[in-house]
Symmetry: C2
């Protein structure tokens, strides 16, 4: 954490240094964050994978969200991309732009969230940057890791005839945000938990290497993200509305009529993996799901054409006007 | 540039996509920014080097600064670290948190600044993230590159008896900021230019491999940064005030009395390389300076003890209260 002394309040830099230095322990080449850069030796036969994602106060998280879950959210947003691409995260950089309000307890909880997730996902802090901001808190994480040479699961490999799958359940985070927006304090429960702390499917994603033809993580909304695959692969993707997997908690909140399913499929922040795969992969996908205890649902198919369509049980297209998630 | 559609004004995402995609051309593994992550194959015998640095509107740059030079500044701040460590930058990620005010022309100029510097420093855009912010614009760049195995020039290698050097001239950016602060429009001239657009010493830095015992780039201020080397290397560094290299332009602005030199040595944003080296390296350093047309000045020495001291011509310590640079 370099060149930050004068941007912070007295003692704040030292506090951040003290809190963050232990997070670099998994990486000898991070030098305990005492140098200007970090180094690591790449694995033989692997490509290096790069990703960055940022979250902004008032846009992607609320000031009142717990610091521990804010830390987990930004880290897991990046890890979720690695999961969907069949890659393995290793090291991350964190850039903090801090307004005046975070106190010592907030920073300690933020570091605790990072520490817990480092242990869970086997990654280490390689470095960072702390600056003052006159505006909203902004946290940028850049993640670096590996994938075996040529094994990255791209967006552009979907082919006509492939099946379309999604892990877990869809729309829970959107439901959680709805509950948070109307609650005085942070309500408990599965939906809010899903909004606050994504659950990247890292183990399952690595099993998809060689099985999936295209893959990404669902962040903008299921339909919007499958639209990215359709566009990049130059195909049409049809999703059957009754196949979209909803959790019992979301059904209890909104029911399971078509408007509720459409809302789920467009509300985003799911951090599940949606992917396409040829018929030949079907049994191996089922086995990988079993081995990693991952719920996987077949929700549609890839056909010739372009765009994304949500179909009702008679095969008629359901008009969807809101294909992307609007953050807070 | 993924998951950004809904965070931007209508058409803004498409504009950024259109402006940024060509910047990924040097990197086949960036897939034209059409995928979620980027990959690259590491060089054999090299370590991968990581660095991140962010700049914030109203802290590190002024809203009225040209978009083209803002882009260059954040890119070069990162490249400057690679230069000082003897490393070679290759790919970068850029995370943009945009308030309402940047218009199409601003974004075009920003992309132009990146494009010009990519050509100059031989780096490519590997990916990024664009979000809306209700606050100050924040731009985070994470840079990835190489250094030959074991060749990174650390902060912790300075030894008693080493000489202390700095490239170029010191304090110019601080002088430029002073001129900017009192000007109605952006004044021309060397000092302002130095403030707006750092000049990383990439070619010279790579020549320092195996010659320098410790090195960093001067961003917080010459004395503050040499203090980092002194602390990490567990030595004392003495700088001779009359040796600190000042440009004719800075001398014209402030004179060359001791208070002006102290201000130069504490004002930061220089992005020169300050390094230590044993006597055995002296002639090779001189040769490297000549080959890369780099001004290099010997400014002091490493001794036993701790801390950083600025000495007058009689060897007496000059009291310096302000060892770090306070951004705007």
């Amino acid at each position: 954490m370099t060149r930050s002394t004068s941007d912070c309040r007295p003692g704040e830099f030292e506090l951040i240094e003290k809190l963050f230095a232990p997070l670099s322990r998994p990486l000898p080449g991070a030098f305990g964050l005492t140098d200007d850069v970090a180094v690591f030796s790449p694995h033989t036969g692997c490509e290096v994978v790069l990703k960055t994602d940022a979250i902004v106060e008032g846009v992607h998280f609320r000031k009142s969200d717990p610091a521990r879950t804010i830390a987990k959210k930004v880290l897991r947003m990046n890890i979720s991309d690695f999961a969907a691409k069949g890659a393995e995260p290793k090291a991350y950089l964190v850039s903090l732009s801090l307004p005046e309000w975070p106190d010592k307890a907030w920073l300690e909880e933020f570091a605790r969230g990072l520490a817990e997730d480092q242990a869970e996902f086997d990654v280490g802090l390689a470095g960072g940057d702390t600056t003052r901001t006159p505006g909203a808190m902004t946290i940028t994480v850049s993640m670096v890791g590996y994938v075996p040479q040529g094994a990255l699961i791209r967006r552009n490999g979907a082919r006509s005839g492939d099946a379309v799958y999604v892990t877990g359940t869809i729309g829970d985070a959107g439901g959680g945000l709805e509950q948070l927006a109307t609650a005085a304090s942070i309500p408990e429960g599965e939906l809010v938990s899903r909004y606050l702390v994504p659950r990247p499917r890292l183990a399952f994603g690595q099993q998809l290497r060689g099985l999936a033809s295209a893959s990404l993580d669902v962040s903008d909304g299921l339909l919007a993200d499958l639209g990215h695959i359709a566009k990049t692969s130059q195909v049409r993707i049809e999703v059957h509305v009754e196949c979209v997997p909803l959790s019992p908690e979301l059904v209890a909140l909104r029911g399971h009529e078509i408007p509720a399913i459409v809302l789920a499929a467009t509300s985003g922040d799911d951090y599940e993996i949606s992917f396409t795969a040829p018929a030949a992969s079907r049994s191996a996908i089922k086995q990988a799901a079993g081995e990693t205890q991952t719920r996987v649902t077949e929700i549609g198919r890839v056909v010739a054409g372009e765009g994304i369509a949500l179909l009702d049980s008679r095969g008629a297209e359901i008009p969807v006007s809101r294909k992307g998630y609007t953050h807070i």
